[in-house]
Symmetry: C2
Subunit: 108 residues, 2 copies
Amino acid sequence: MNEQEKTLCEAKAAVLKALAHPTRLWMAEQLAGGEKCVCEFVGAMDFDFSTISKHLAVLKQAGIVEVDKRGKQVFYRLKVPCVLNFMNCVEAVIKAQGKDQAALMRHL
Amino acid sequence: MNEQEKTLCEAKAAVLKALAHPTRLWMAEQLAGGEKCVCEFVGAMDFDFSTISKHLAVLKQAGIVEVDKRGKQVFYRLKVPCVLNFMNCVEAVIKAQGKDQAALMRHL
DNA sequence: TGCATGTTTGGCATAATATGCAAATGTTAG
DNA sequence: CTAACATTTGCATATTATGCCAAACATGCA
């Protein structure tokens, strides 16, 4: 692992890390259906406004979402939609785990 | 976000989290070229044997790699090869960040 | 049996650091 | 100016990831 590889891996890991949180993952998936404003997330989750705003900031800084401010509202949308394609694969991993996750797997 | 969604998102996030570390990401990518034994990783990285073993255990427990013990050596291989497909997308995210990462991007 | 090689585990220090709430601050529309 | 929408700051808290060391375990070979 040379220096360049290391730097590149760190950059990639940072992107994955941003998605490696249940709340952020869920929000990213919601954005697959189109842009959403912060207030919509606040309505859908039982978190403080500031908490949600922070999570979105993490996704934004990772380059996963982009922001569009319109009027009083701030809309977030996926910047690189392919991030959701690989959720299929993550689900495949979970299925392959073959643990006692029957209940979980029924929803994949 | 109901209970089921939450549980599922937690499971997915756990998989991503396992890959969200430079060392583990690098190892997973190395495995794309075929199985490797622990000692090969030790030779390629400047980490303690135990450190590498622990990282591999994280990947294993996440369901990303599987183990094959042959003789004195332990071989690891990708259990769900598609995990590497989405690296293309992660790289796309990095490219899209368009920050001052020219040096980094030249290696994507 | 005993030793060398390869690997895992337990313990540990350290630092990091993520999370989510509360309060204060911005921003826009009306 | 006020209300609605959003971000930032500060903070407490707990968590916990990381990587080294030493010890234990496993396997093959002499």
